[in-house]
Symmetry: C2
Subunit: 396 residues, 2 copies
């Protein structure tokens, strides 16, 4: 039925974790919500994500506003997971596993000492473990281990269970969730106000509010005035999913080593990641990346050799020019961003949904979110549009 | 239609490369052939095989009868491939690529010098290449290369194209090829003569000749008297399939390194293998095996890092106690074996089919095949039956 007109209070574009959570939260607040997903729910970047909730292990001293946002979201996670689990009737795979950061050699150990000092200076709860102490916590760690940091509060969630539960909770809350619905254009009136969205099949949905939560695919959406655009580039991450035929127990913490990590699911399944590559929209799995990930993790947890490989895949993290998310309204009335979460999409899902749903019903922007206003990219928008044309043909 | 009776001159059990080739060749000689495959054609061990035709690179001085059989088959391959291609109207993926055996370090180089001497003593056509000469032939070889052997006559075929063409050629020659038809029992009369086979669904096929070409699954067939059984154990091989997004040209020869190899398909696709593991019927792909295969091959051909992984899989080589195949008749009249080809199944497909089809129509056993008579396992048969019960529950 092309060209029929539908009316929603808010249209959310993007059916990954962020978009689905916003749709759920907005519907809970009484809004008439339609979510449009070009493919299937949760099958873009969310499906590939490992699901580490690791603001402390990943803290950078130069990114304090992001650290605070991350910490607020991680603090909200237990309640969010419980509520979502109850609202959906589904397990969301939240695992209080804690994290160990491992040093394999003297260079790693020196770097880790600096990481420890930085975190202590920021008042973050980390502790230094001698190799023997770390191996008491995780006997599968290699004898060659030099040093470890314990980050007791960095946990994990299974993003595939999370998105499945968000779909169910959103539907139960009354949101209209549509898969296979690709947005061509956001329609903006001459008075600089959102009036609707037009799908690629010609269908038009009337609405006064549009939330762009399309991750790396957000840039393909036409009709957004330059001053309200957020440049987003894909950062490729290759990742392996494995399981232990002898059951759970190889490692019970997330173990991080330099650029790599192994995340336990608690049931004998593990996720091993991840590369950081700037290669446009390429999602090929390469021999070199698989080799390097296995090499780093097997060196620190030799028992990983015995795990069975279930899946090798690559996802595209959506990154803005400053690698921090764009959350909130723009200079176009009714046009909102909730995208560009880079490495922190799953982690920031609860707080992003809370902020956006709250502001949609008229709440003030929380102080915490001030640094993430989309307006900070207003000047670079024209430039970004050029880059997009180079990286991604229309329709890709 | 259970329990109906069908009559064939010969029933071939097993729809891999060996069984399909026998069915084709036997039908060409005017026999009424029915082939029974428990799953789908060519989707067992044949589907995983790399397809190296490498009797010279793999020659062992203690296995001269096998070397001669291998050489006869490799000599028959060009004609076999041409005839099959014409009979089926399909490309069979035969590639005259030649083989380089590479030495990475001094230990490898010393071992390779001994391999060279052994082959020269056996009169095999191999040549010693300095690293610079090898890199002139294959510029992608690592600068750290120490030495290489060139085996100009060891080529490759694509086993998936081979089995697809054999299905088509067999059908065109009038063979009855049945997928999804699992044999429960070979029926042997009190006069020690094959009378038919019974499928797991109860159907009975009358026949005076049964050829067992079921690879590692042959041992699940009931009803074969102990003195006519061949013990076959699975030897697991893990393997990777990759492609080069920039097209063909990374390597044009098969490159072998210690236990690993990379086989080019000539079109930018590559096969990288393979482990040798005795783990029963396990076909899991493990992190450790993938890591080791990539490590060995990337060390010698660094450009493999850039290849895209299309498939990781594991197959089961069918191995007899002496690791040589069982080809020919048994003490039970009408019961034949064509199984246990271990690493050489694809290589030995032409000669095995020729020998079995010829003997089925009354030709003498060729001298070449004398060492591979199934009777050499007659004494060990009872023992094998015990091992099978341990490794593989009935129906596995």
């Amino acid at each position: 039925l092309p060209n029929r007109i539908r009316k929603s209070d808010v249209v959310v574009i993007g059916g990954g974790a962020i978009g689905l959570a916003i749709a759920w939260r907005a519907a809970q607040r009484g809004l008439g919500v339609t979510l449009l997903e070009r493919g299937r729910f949760g099958e873009g970047t969310s499906r590939v994500a490992a699901g580490m909730l690791a603001p402390i292990a990943e803290a950078r001293p130069t990114e304090q506003p992001l650290l605070h946002l991350n910490q607020a979201s991680v603090k909200a996670y237990p309640g969010f997971a419980d509520e979502l689990s109850e609202a959906s009737g589904m397990d969301v795979g939240y695992l209080r596993c804690g994290t160990l950061v491992a040093a394999r050699d003297r260079d790693d150990a020196e770097a880790l000492e600096r990481e420890l000092e930085m975190r202590l200076a920021l008042g973050l709860p980390v502790s230094r473990l001698r190799a023997s102490e770390a191996r008491r916590l995780e006997p599968a760690l290699a004898p060659s281990l030099r040093l470890a940091l314990e980050v007791a509060d960095d946990h994990a969630i299974d993003p595939r269970l999370l998105t499945a539960a968000l779909v169910e909770a959103g539907l139960r809350a009354g949101a209209r969730l549509r898969a296979g619905a690709e947005v061509a254009t956001v329609e903006v009136s001459p008075r600089n106000r959102v009036s609707g969205v037009r799908l690629t099949d010609g269908e038009v949905l009337e609405t006064e509010h549009v939330v762009i939560a399309g991750g790396v695919w957000s840039e393909a959406i036409e009709g957004i005035p330059h001053e309200a655009r957020v440049p987003i580039r894909p950062v490729k991450g290759q990742i392996l999913r494995l399981h232990d035929p002898s059951g759970a127990g190889l490692v019970s913490h997330i173990v991080r080593i330099a650029g790599s990590y192994i995340v336990p699911r608690g049931d004998g399944r593990y996720v091993l990641g991840a590369t950081m590559e700037e290669r446009g929209f390429d999602t090929a799995v390469t021999a070199g990346a698989t080799f390097e990930l296995l090499r780093e993790v097997i060196e620190v947890v030799p028992g990983v050799s015995e795990l069975v490989i279930d899946e090798v895949s690559a996802g595209l993290r959506p990154a803005t020019p400053d690698n921090a998310p764009a959350i909130g309204p723009t200079s176009v009335h009714g046009l909102w961003w909730a995208a560009g979460h880079h490495r922190n999409g799953i982690l920031l899902t609860p707080i992003t949904a809370e902020i956006v749903a709250g502001m949609l019903v008229g709440e003030q922007r929380p102080e915490l979110a001030a640094a993430f206003a989309p307006a900070r990219f207003a000047r670079g928008a024209a430039q970004s549009s050029t880059r997009r044309d180079r990286l991604m043909p229309v329709g890709a």
